[in-house]
Amino acid sequence: MQILPYLVAAYVFLVGCYGLATSRNLIHTVGCLSVCQAATYVLLLAVGYRDGATAPVFSDVEPGSRPVVDPVVQALTLTDVVVGATVTALLLALVLQVAKRHGTVDPDELRELRG
């Protein structure tokens, strides 16, 4: 339990990388990239967790009565989630154009740029 969350984050990142390298479809590639990014969420939030603590929201908790988990990593992850969605959208837009111009979304068939 002590390091399990970190190991899961590392595993998810590696699996995403494997998918990126072996993908046969560019849309699938973009999906794998978002898997890689999920690893960063897990890592950040695992780092900020605190045993027995509650969410850092004081609308129904008396301030100071209970420990709270680290709010900074949550703000960072929130930023990260939005960044991830926008990058996905932009890359998908590029994949659509690749599909139109090359007539394929298989990276093995893209032979224009080499050497």
Binding site: T40, V87, R111
Partner: protein, 591 residues
């Protein structure tokens, strides 16, 4: 004064947002003028701040000044190198916007200001990254810079290569950025801080407890550096660069090659100096081993690949790879002279490289091709551009008194010994390739080269001009911009106070308080002349005896590696992480 620091990022963003708000109703000229005003205003602000950057400024955004040395806000650093990079970025953006004045044939319907707005966001992002003193904030601006760059690279959606290059760029750089974020997460876990100076101190305190750096420090170092080196296009993270830079619109290429790649190198300098330089970080010997090794390989691969290109923009892109290698080597030796040398080299290189891309853009718009073979002798009618191309080539070689020569000379002295050979060879080969282009395309010298091994190379034929049709007359803006850029690169070396100013501000910000003086030395001048002579000789040989310098058998596998396949590039990225880890490992084991 220091309250104005965040405005360097905010002003261009405001300009971009205003352009989108009003863009629909503005005529194109008004939109482009607005862009120039905002980008020029930011440049002026950056210059004023740079001149006032001694002693270095610090600003806590939101007014969260530290209480007892602790703050919850984000720190923005306004020292010489940060503001200098911001000024360089801004000036080059102004140049790129001026070059693209009335340039693109077809703004998207309903969005006449879209291209200008994206360029402004790009400028703001790069300024924000240069000034970042907080690691996560640096990541945010890094990502912003990347996202805009993907969109700008793929801007010409009618071009099959452009969209492919942009996609590769996007996937590889995003993966690098996520690796960097993992590294930031590890550092936060160890120290519980995000400001770079605080993280550095936190690492030192933690290391004092159990003696030296451990696996976590190594992993975070490697992961953060991976993100930055992907941006800086160090081998083996470099594959995306030629694919993206060769296909991006010309004004974008000027920014990508001129400053964005260099910002990766700058990021390595900033992060190592503030976070990992202490006793709890990575020992100096390991950083030197890692950066000098990667830098040398990068310079070699970049130079060799540059020589064998026929696609002119791709050739220039590889020369950027080679020069990044040189920057990394000088950075790796960790001396004040080395830092001063690359600072000057980066400034000079930005001017020269942007001017060369601008000239290549003129060829593209005039002939619809950037292929060395196809254009053989056709550009004889453009003597002005020919002169600029040749001047750019010798500037790249480091002919005194160009700014590149001053920076290269200082850096060569700093690295010393056998590494000097790398500098001379890499700059001579890349400059020789550019001179070869000049001789063949603009002068029509030598026999017309024959096409060979078309499965191995990307030709520059069949490109579509970026203007509404092939240009019959080259507009004045497109001629003036490269001339001004070359003049600026020249001035960097000639104006005597400039080198001293750069050296002082760089040393004040880092280098542990040591001050180095920067001046022309006989050694540097001789090596500069030697590189230029070697470049000229190579070009002459290529034109008169093409067989002697044709691709040897061992270059073929190297060229095959650049396969254009995004999966290959990702695999190489992982390999690079491993290599970087292995190179930095001994210090951690020893500690």
């Amino acid at each position: 004064m220091h309250h104005l620091l965040p405005l360097l990022a905010a002003l261009p963003l405001l300009g971009a947002a205003l352009l989108v708000v009003t863009g629909r109703h503005l005529p194109r000229a008004a939109a482009e003028t607005t862009g120039l005003v905002f980008s020029g205003g930011t440049a002026a602000l950056a210059l004023v701040l740079t001149l006032n950057s001694s002693p270095p400024m610090v600003e806590w955004v939101g007014g969260w000044l530290p209480v007892d040395g602790e703050s919850v806000g984000i720190v923005v650093v306004g020292d010489g190198p940060a503001l200098g990079m911001a000024a360089l970025v801004s000036l080059l953006t102004v140049a790129a916007l001026a070059y693209s004045w009335r340039y693109f044939a077809e703004p998207p319907p309903g969005h006449p200001g879209a291209f200008t707005a994206l360029m402004l966001v790009f400028q703001g992002a790069m300024c924000g990254f240069a000034l970042a003193g907080d690691l996560f904030n640096a990541f945010v601006f890094f990502e912003l810079m990347s996202v805009v760059a993907y969109a700008l690279t793929g801007y010409r959606i009618d071009e099959a290569r452009a969209v492919q290059g942009a996609l590769t760029f996007g996937v590889v750089n995003s993966l690098g950025a996520y690796a960097m974020l993992m590294g930031i997460g590890l550092l936060y876990a160890r120290t519980g801080e995000l400001a770079m100076t605080k993280i550095g101190r936190g690492l030192d305190t933690a290391a004092a407890g159990h003696g030296g750096p451990d696996g976590l420090v190594l992993a975070s170092f490697v992961l953060v550096l991976t993100g930055l080196l992907v941006k800086a296009a160090a081998v083996p993270f470099h594959f995306w660069l030629p694919d993206a830079h060769a296909v991006a619109p010309t004004p974008v290429c000027m920014l990508l090659s001129g400053v964005m790649v260099e910002l990766g190198v700058y990021g390595v300098w900033r992060v190592y100096g503030t976070v990992f330089a202490g006793p709890g970080g990575i020992p100096a010997a390991d950083l030197t081993r890692a950066l000098v090794t990667l830098g040398t390989v990068t310079a070699a691969v970049g130079a060799v690949m540059c020589w064998y290109q026929r696609h002119i923009k791709r050739l220039l892109a590889y020369s950027t790879v080679a020069h990044t290698g040189l920057f990394l080597v000088a950075l790796g030796v960790l001396t004040p002279e080395g830092d001063d040398g690359i600072a000057l080299y980066v400034v000079g290189h930005a001017g020269v490289k942007a001017a060369l891309f601008a000239c290549a853009g003129i060829l593209l718009d005039r002939y619809g091709s950037v292929d060395e073979h196809e254009l053989h002798g056709r550009a004889r009618e453009l003597p002005g551009v020919a002169v600029m191309f040749a001047v750019g080539a010798v500037g790249l070689a480091g002919l005194p008194p160009f700014g590149t020569a001053l920076g290269k000379g200082v850096a060569e002295e700093a690295v010393g010994g056998p590494l000097t050979v790398v500098y001379v060879a890499a700059s001579a080969i890349t400059a020789g390739a550019v001179l070869r282009i000049t001789a063949r395309v603009f002068l029509g010298l030598g026999p017309r080269p024959r096409d060979a091994r078309s499965d191995l190379e990307t030709s520059g034929t069949g490109e579509r001009p970026e203007t509404s049709g092939p240009l019959r007359r080259i507009p004045d803006t497109m001629r003036t911009v490269p001339a001004v850029l070359l003049a600026a690169a020249f001035a960097v070396g000639v104006v005597p106070a400039f080198g001293g100013l750069v050296a002082r501000s760089v040393n004040e910000a880092g280098s542990g308080g040591a001050h180095a003086s920067v001046r022309w030395t006989a050694h540097g001048i001789l090596l500069g002349l030697a590189s230029t002579a070697l470049a000229a000789a190579l070009a002459a040989l290529a034109v008169t005896r093409p067989r002697w310098v044709a691709a040897p058998g061992w270059a073929v596998p190297l060229r095959r590696l650049q396969s254009g396949h995004v999966g290959d590039y990702v695999a190489w990225l992982l390999m690079g992480v491993t290599v970087l880890g292995a190179l930095a490992l001994p210090g951690v084991l020893g500690g």
